[in-house]
Structure formats: structure tokens, C-alpha cells
């Protein structure tokens, strides 16, 4: 009997409520003190495509999904066809035998258990819409797993809380009927066991949720965005919370407007953010340089999906790193942060607003569909001691002391004291054109905008690089110092890599993991120090060209020979990396 360790997948057509079923199931588990990770794949359309939700449950903390399924819930035949291979020997399939015709023979899998539950019939009995099969089958699953029905009930109540009580009641009933059907007609004990554990309350959330919360906590007051997968949910959350937290949330005509609006808001003094994916970010590139030139603080989230162009709108990739690092004509400082988990999504989004204001630069946060949309149980964020830091923002008193205020004063750290429109005595122009310390662009006058002034102003802005470098935490090395294998990666691969580390530990292989959280400014010194003594270095990225490896070579001279790359639109399975490592010859087994 497997206890408190299950990989459960539900699949069906888009429109069947696959996602909702996944989260309800997961929530019930999470509320029982178990750790949960949900991965979902759905095509870029609403109904008619194949959707899955893969929920992994464990009593230990887990960081990603697996490529194996213990229990497959199939709302249609296609789900079985596509995912049969993923079912472990001895695993089960839950399906509606009155609608789908399968036998162990037809499947050529003697090693799976078939749980047939008459989902359609139950829904009809309830007089409900076919959609409700999803809840029935979640109930049935919980019975097979022998889990506490009360926890599922609570999850249903709170999930549909905003909708009418009627809907909640109907769903509860549906779940109950599925549960009871299994217990009565199939098995009282079915070989699985999920058991409630004592644990602190945890959140079940996505990277998008964590980012929105981080922004709200940081005092982001203005959010302007154009919807785009995989980060549209940030827009929805901000809009939903606008009243409660006094935010102005603007859905714009396009991404160009979204970017220029937050620059306007940032210039006026409000903390401002937007979020988009690569296509939308392309449209923001021109204004990114504007933020840099006018030294206006802004925060932009970029959620990667596979490109080029429209690519695979609902899948995942890490293909935009280099794009973000050098997007925009001319040379300017930007901060690029790639959170690796939901905690980092929250804390680094919060941090981003401080950095943007302290250094008066644009800050880009790079996530991907895998991190942005997938759910994981997460501890409550420690938010009480987070400090708002606004940098060199002059108070009216300070400004009154200054006789000839210069917005772009050439300072040692490259950062000039800032004032906001509305303040007396600080009137100035913030120009996209190259300008002098006072903000005059004197375009016509070679006598004023001499090559020397131009050089000085560029150097002033570029000097922020070293000021920022001093402020950022060094990259983290997880695991022992003296490992045989050093994995190097960035962003959402952190989860699968954490899982791989567990596997390697079991094998007695000493491995560590260098996570590059800040991609720009790049922590060249530390990375060089760590990698130059590492034994076998392996670069892991969800892209084709090993972008981080290229960056590391550019910045440190170190060429990483071993690469585990994936570029099929899907995130890493821990096993894929594990096998990749085993394939690398010079790793002792």
C-alpha cells in the first residue's frame, strides 16, 4: 500500500473543467497538510482541445511533477490513448465505463487497475450539466485514495465560494455521490491511502499569484497591461483586488500603451508594473529604453512561452533570456531577475520595486508558463518585516534646500536625487533625447551637448551597474560545496532540479546546484569562483541554444561542456534530467 505519495492525473477536452477538478483535488490534499504540486497543460483554445491536470501529492515537500502517473482519470478516450504509457505498473485508470469502452486487453496493459465509475449517469441523476462529471470523479478519486471527505467538501465550498450557494451544494452532492459509488460498489480499500497530517496551514498558489501579491505588498498602485498567456492571471488578480487595495488597473489598447503608461505613472511617482509574454514584450522594447534614458523606475514581468512568434501559446520554455538582456537600442542598465519558485516570485517582485526606485532603472522579472501557472503548496510569506525603500527621493524640505536642482546630477554612484511632479522647486524635463545634468537636450548646440557631456551622461547611467552589483545578494549554491556534479540553471528549472538532487542523494552521488537568480547585472565573480573549482558542470535549460551557458562563457570564460536541454514546449521532468546526467559519461555511478 502506497501512503501519502501519489501522482494523479485528470484529462479530457478543454471545457470539461479539467483545471478546476485539478485544483479542487489539490486543495483538499493541501488542506490535509500534504504537499501538492499541480502541472497543467492546455492548448490555446477554450473548448475542444486536450487538457490535463497532473497533481502530485506527498508528505515531504515536492518541487515539481513527475513523468509517471499512479492514477489516471480519463474523461474521454483520448486521455487514455495519450497517457497510458505514463501509468506505472499497478497504477489505475478511473473512467466512465458506460461511455468509454476499454479492457486490459484492449489496452495491452495487464498491470493496470480499471475503476469504472458511471459519471454520466450520476450527473444525469443529479439533473446537472455534463460539466459536473469533473466533481463526481474527484469524489470518486478521493474514495479510492481513502481520503477524508470533509476536506474535499471544504475545498469545494471555498473554491466556488464566490458563486451561488446552489452551485456549491450541487458540487458537494456530486462529489459525495462519486465518493459513495466507489466505496459501495468498487472497493472499500483500494490499495491507496492519503492521510491527513498535522502541518501549518499552507497556500496553494501559482507564480502569478505570488507575483501579484508581491506587487501589492510593495505598494504597486498602477497596473496597466494587455492580456497575454501565461500571465493574464496577474491582470485578473490585480483587477479583482483593485478595490480592496486601492489600485488603478488599466487594460490597455496594446502593450506599447501598457509600457508607456507605467512609465508615465512611474515618472509621476506611483509604483507601477505590467506583465506580458514575449510577443507583447517585443512591443515594449522601445519604451524600455525610454525608462532607462529618463531614469524612470518600472517593473515588468515577462512570462515565457515557446517561440518564435506566436509559437505555442499555452506551453512553456526558457527561450527569452538573451532577448531580455539586450532588448533595446543603445546601452543601458536593466535589472533582470529570474525567480525559481513561488517564494522568489513574491520576494523578488517586492524587491524589484525597491530596486527600481533605488537605482531608477527598469526591472524585468522573467518567469515562464511552468512557474507562472502551475500550483504548489507554499508556506505563508514572511511579509511583516519587508521594508519599502524609495531611494533618493527628495522630500519637499530637502528640495527647498537646493538652489539649482538638477534631475540628472552626475553623482558617484550614478544615481541622481529624484523629485516628483507636484513638488515645488523641482520643475524639470525628463527627455528621451540625450541631455545634460539639468535635463536639457540642447540638441542644436554642439557647444552645450559636447562629446564630453554625452560621454559623461552615459557613464553616469552605466555606473549604476556597479552600484547595483554591490546591493544584490550573491547567487545561491544549494547542496555541498565539494560536489561531483554541479548543476547550473536559472528560473523555473529549480523545482525539477531540487527533485533530481533528491534522486542523486539516494544514489549516493554528491551534487550541488548553482541557481542564477540575477541575470543582469551578472554576478561574474561569484559564478567564476564557484565554477572554476567545480568538477563536472552541467547546464540545464528549457531552451535550444543553452542561453545561460553562453552568458556564463561570455562573462567568465568558462565553457560548460555538458548540457541538458529541452525545447519541446514542456517543462522538465526530474527523470529527464536524471537520465541526462547518467548519460554524461564521466559521472560516476
Amino acid at each position: 500500500m502506497i501512503k501519502n505519495k501519489i501522482s494523479w492525473m485528470i484529462g479530457g477536452e478543454a471545457g470539461y473543467g479539467i483545471m478546476a477538478a485539478g485544483t479542487t483535488f489539490a486543495k483538499a490534499c493541501s488542506r490535509g497538510g500534504l504537499h501538492v504540486f499541480i502541472n497543467s497543460e492546455f492548448p490555446s483554445l477554450i473548448k475542444g482541445g486536450h487538457n490535463i491536470s497532473l497533481v502530485r501529492v506527498d508528505e515531504e515537500e515536492i518541487y515539481s511533477h513527475l513523468d509517471t502517473v499512479d492514477l489516471l482519470v480519463a474523461l474521454n478516450q483520448e486521455t487514455i490513448d495519450l497517457h497510458l504509457n505514463e501509468i506505472v505498473p499497478g497504477g489505475g485508470i478511473i473512467y466512465d465505463g458506460e461511455q468509454i469502452n476499454v479492457t486490459k486487453e484492449s489496452l495491452k496493459r495487464k498491470d493496470v487497475v480499471l475503476f469504472s465509475v458511471p459519471l454520466t449517469k450520476i450527473v444525469r441523476e443529479l439533473g446537472a450539466e455534463l460539466l459536473l462529471r469533473n466533481t463526481v470523479v474527484v469524489g470518486a478519486s478521493m474514495a479510492i485514495l481513502d481520503y477524508d471527505f470533509g476536506l474535499l467538501e471544504g475545498a469545494i465550498r471555498d473554491s466556488f465560494g464566490k458563486k451561488k450557494g446552489e452551485i456549491v451544494e450541487q458540487n458537494k452532492k456530486a462529489a459525495r455521490m462519486g465518493y459513495d459509488y466507489v466505496k459501495k460498489n468498487i472497493c472499500e480499500e483500494c490499495g491507496y491511502k492519503l492521510e491527513q497530517r498535522k502541518a501549518p496551514e499552507r497556500m496553494l498558489l501559482t507564480g502569478n499569484d505570488a507575483i501579484a501579491m508581491g506587487a501589492i505588498k510593495a505598494g504597486c498602485k498602477f497596473y496597466a497591461a494587455y492580456p497575454m498567456t501565461p500571465v493574464s492571471a496577474i491582470l485578473h488578480t490585480m483587477a479583482e483586488k483593485a478595490k480592496e487595495f486601492n489600485l488603478v488597473v488599466k487594460q490597455t489598447e496594446d502593450e506599447i500603451a501598457a509600457m508607456n503608461m507605467i512609465i508615465g505613472a512611474g515618472f509621476a511617482g506611483a509604483r507601477a508594473m505590467n506583465a506580458t509574454s514575449g510577443g507583447g514584450f517585443s512591443l515594449m522594447v522601445e519604451a524600455l529604453g525610454l525608462a532607462a534614458m529618463t531614469e524612470t523606475p518600472i517593473v515588468t514581468i515577462e512570462g515565457q512561452r515557446p517561440g518564435p512568434s506566436t509559437g505555442q501559446p499555452t506551453h512553456t520554455a526558457q527561450g527569452d533570456l538573451k532577448f531580455l538582456l539586450s532588448a533595446g537600442q543603445g546601452e543601458f542598465v536593466r535589472i533582470v531577475i529570474a525567480p525559481g519558485d513561488r517564494e522568489e516570485c513574491f520576494y523578488e517582485t517586492f524587491n524589484a520595486f525597491n530596486l527600481a526606485e533605488k537605482f531608477q532603472v527598469p526591472v524585468l522579472i522573467l518567469v515562464d508558463k511552468f512557474l507562472a501557472e502551475d500550483y504548489k503548496t507554499t508556506e505563508f510569506f514572511e511579509h511583516s518585516n519587508l521594508q519599502i525603500e524609495r531611494g533618493k527621493l527628495l522630500s519637499q524640505e530637502e528640495l527647498n534646500e537646493i538652489s539649482d536642482y538638477k534631475r540628472y546630477l552626475n553623482t558617484e554612484d550614478g544615481i541622481s536625487p529624484r523629485v516628483l511632479p507636484g513638488q515645488l522647486n523641482g520643475v524639470h524635463c525628463a527627455p528621451s533625447t540625450e541631455h545634460d545634468e539639468a535635463g536639457f537636450s540642447h540638441e542644436a548646440s554642439d557647444a552645450l551637448m559636447t562629446p564630453e557631456v554625452v560621454k559623461m551622461m552615459l557613464e553616469k547611467r552605466m555606473r549604476k551597474l556597479s552600484s547595483i552589483e554591490k546591493e544584490l545578494k550573491p547567487p545561491k549554491l544549494y547542496g555541498p560545496q565539494d560536489a561531483d556534479i554541479t548543476l547550473v540553471s536559472w528560473g523555473s528549472t529549480k523545482g525539477p532540479i531540487f527533485e533530481v538532487m533528491k534522486l542523486l542523494e539516494k544514489d549516493g552521488i554528491k551534487a550541488n546546484f548553482l541557481q542564477i537568480l540575477y541575470l543582469s547585472p551578472f554576478p561574474s565573480e561569484e559564478v567564476k569562483r564557484i565554477l572554476s573549482t567545480a568538477k563536472t558542470i552541467v547546464d540545464v535549460e528549457n531552451n535550444y541554444t543553452a542561453q545561460l551557458a553562453g552568458l556564463i562563457r561570455e562573462k567568465t570564460g568558462i565553457e560548460i561542456q555538458h548540457r541538458i536541454l529541452k525545447y519541446d514546449g514542456r517543462p522538465f521532468y526530474p527523470n529527464f534530467i536524471y537520465k541526462g546526467l547518467k548519460d554524461i559519461k564521466d559521472i560516476g555511478r
Binding site: 498602477f222 486601492n246 488603478v248 506599447i256 509621476a268 522601445e286 515645488l424 528621451s432
Partner: protein, 286 residues
């Protein structure tokens, strides 16, 4: 309250001698003064073009953005701090060419700001390509055989698009222009002032003389009612031998800001951002 003199900056003015922009500069400074605005509570936003140099010459807070994006920047500023008076300066290329999308969407929002378009029917700064308002047949460097597109009719689009204040001025009528701008500033909502502005270096066709011979003031018409939309559309269509200047259309409508209880009491920028409590929000994810 400020005087036109206080509104002068230290920058040398960089327009061609005789350029219509000088008139606009005079008018905007007088209008700011006359409308009783304070320097530190006024913010000018421009794009790129000869028009885009305006912020450098008016001593109020200002932002020179990129080509075509005056309105989004102005929108961001206004929504972040709606206590500021926000005035956009654009060009016919900046505003009606590359910036057309933002223009059409700003019209329907009706945010409280003034939008001044320096309409010289040419791309001045880039030295003489035709613009969206260039007359058909007009020959330029980029169309030696003459423009073959129908010109954009900005006022017609503005009215059709839902603007609440639509007007046209002419730098050859400075006092009239100044008064228009004052009205636009005082209008509660999005106010367009399209200004006929001769470009003496590149537009050899639409000169001071050409405009002078054609413009007439709507105020001089006995029965013109700027609140009649259909009549306004007809006037907006008029272009050729006679060109109307003045307020073509005016309407009272709620501001975008009126629908935002979030900023009813204090502007975003003045709201406290320390110690925002997200405990409740976190609990929603249990």
C-alpha cells in the same frame, strides 16, 4: 498662477526661423498663465518631432517620450496623480500616424487632459516626408509623384471616436488660439486642439498665406451649435476653400476618473505604501 515670462526655460529655441511652432509656444505659455495654472502642478508630455521639443521650452514639469506615445504617457501620469494638469503636445505624424491607436482609444476614455497637435501636414524633424494629414497630390521626398492616400481627418475622427471637446486653431490667429487652449484646459475631459502650424522649411504648399486665405472662425457663424454632433461632423469634413477654426464639438460626459473610487479621495502617488497588509489575501489561497 504664473506669468508667461516665468514659463521660459534656459534652453535655446531650436526651431527654424519663422516656424509656426513659435506661435504655439507663445499661445501655450499665455494659456497656462491665463488658466491660472501653477508651474509645479502642470505637466507637459510630448513625443518626438519638431513639436516634441516643446517641453524643453516651457518651464513646467515635463516628459519628452518617444515617437507617437504622448497619450499613454500622459494617461499614466494623470491616473497616478490626477491633481496635475496634464497637457500633451504631439505632431501630425506623432499623433495621427504612428500614434493613431492611442488617439482613438483616448477619445473614448475621456480622461481629463488637453491634447495639442502641431499639425503642419508634414514630417518636419525628419526633413520633409508626407504626413497622414498631407493633402492628396502633395509631393514630398517620400512621394515624388504626390501623395496617393486620402488624408486623415483628425477632427472628424475625434468626434466619431467619442471626444468631448474638439477644436482647431491656427497660429496665424494667436489670440484666438490662446483662448482655445484655455478652454481646452478648462474643459472637463479629453480636449483636442488641432493647430494649423505652417512648416516653413518643408511644407511649401500649406503656408501661412494658404491657411490665412481659408480659415474662418466658427464663432462668427450665427447659428453654429458645437453640441450638435452631426453638424459638427459636417464641419469637420470641411477642408479646402474654407477651413473652420474654433470649437467644433463639445459634450459633457463623465470622466474616466469619475469611475475610479480608488482615487476619489487622494491621488495614487499620495497613498501610503508602507505596511500594506496582505494577510487576508494570503489566506484566500489556503
Amino acid at each position: 498662477m504664473t506669468t508667461p515670462l516665468e514659463l521660459k526655460t534656459k534652453s535655446k529655441i531650436q526651431w527654424c526661423p519663422g516656424c509656426g511652432n513659435f506661435g504655439i509656444l507663445t499661445a501655450i505659455k499665455s494659456a497656462i498663465s491665463e488658466a491660472g495654472l501653477e508651474r509645479h502642478n502642470t505637466c507637459i508630455v510630448s513625443g518626438i518631432g519638431c513639436s516634441g521639443k516643446t517641453p524643453q521650452y516651457v518651464n513646467v514639469y515635463s516628459f519628452e517620450g518617444i515617437h507617437g506615445r504622448v497619450l499613454p504617457v500622459a494617461t499614466g501620469i494623470k491616473l497616478a496623480n490626477h491633481k496635475l494638469t496634464v497637457i500633451g503636445h504631439s505632431g501630425d505624424g506623432d499623433g495621427y500616424g504612428i500614434g493613431m491607436c492611442h488617439f482613438m482609444h483616448a477619445l473614448r476614455r475621456n480622461i481629463d487632459m488637453t491634447y495639442i497637435v502641431h499639425d503642419n501636414q508634414i514630417y518636419g524633424l525628419t526633413k520633409g516626408q508626407y504626413s497622414p494629414t498631407s493633402d492628396k497630390g502633395f509631393s514630398t521626398k517620400s512621394a515624388p509623384e504626390g501623395v496617393i492616400e486620402e488624408p486623415v481627418k483628425p477632427l472628424e475622427l475625434a468626434i466619431a471616436g467619442g471626444a468631448t471637446f474638439v477644436s482647431r486653431g491656427f497660429v496665424g490667429e494667436l489670440d484666438h488660439l490662446k483662448k482655445l487652449i484655455v478652454q481646452a484646459i478648462k474643459h472637463r475631459g479629453f480636449a483636442l486642439v488641432d493647430i494649423l502650424q505652417p512648416c516653413v522649411s518643408f511644407n511649401y504648399k500649406n503656408t501661412y498665406k494658404w491657411y490665412k486665405e481659408r480659415v474662418y472662425k466658427l464663432e462668427d457663424l450665427k447659428d453654429y451649435n458645437p453640441e450638435n454632433k452631426i453638424q459638427a461632423l459636417e464641419k469637420a469634413f470641411e477642408w479646402g476653400d474654407k477651413i473652420p477654426i474654433g470649437v467644433l464639438y463639445k459634450e459633457t460626459r463623465n470622466l474616466y476618473e469619475d469611475y475610479l473610487p480608488q482615487i476619489k479621495d487622494i491621488p495614487l502617488v499620495e497613498q501610503k505604501i508602507e505596511n500594506i497588509d496582505i494577510t487576508g489575501m494570503m489566506r484566500e489561497f489556503i
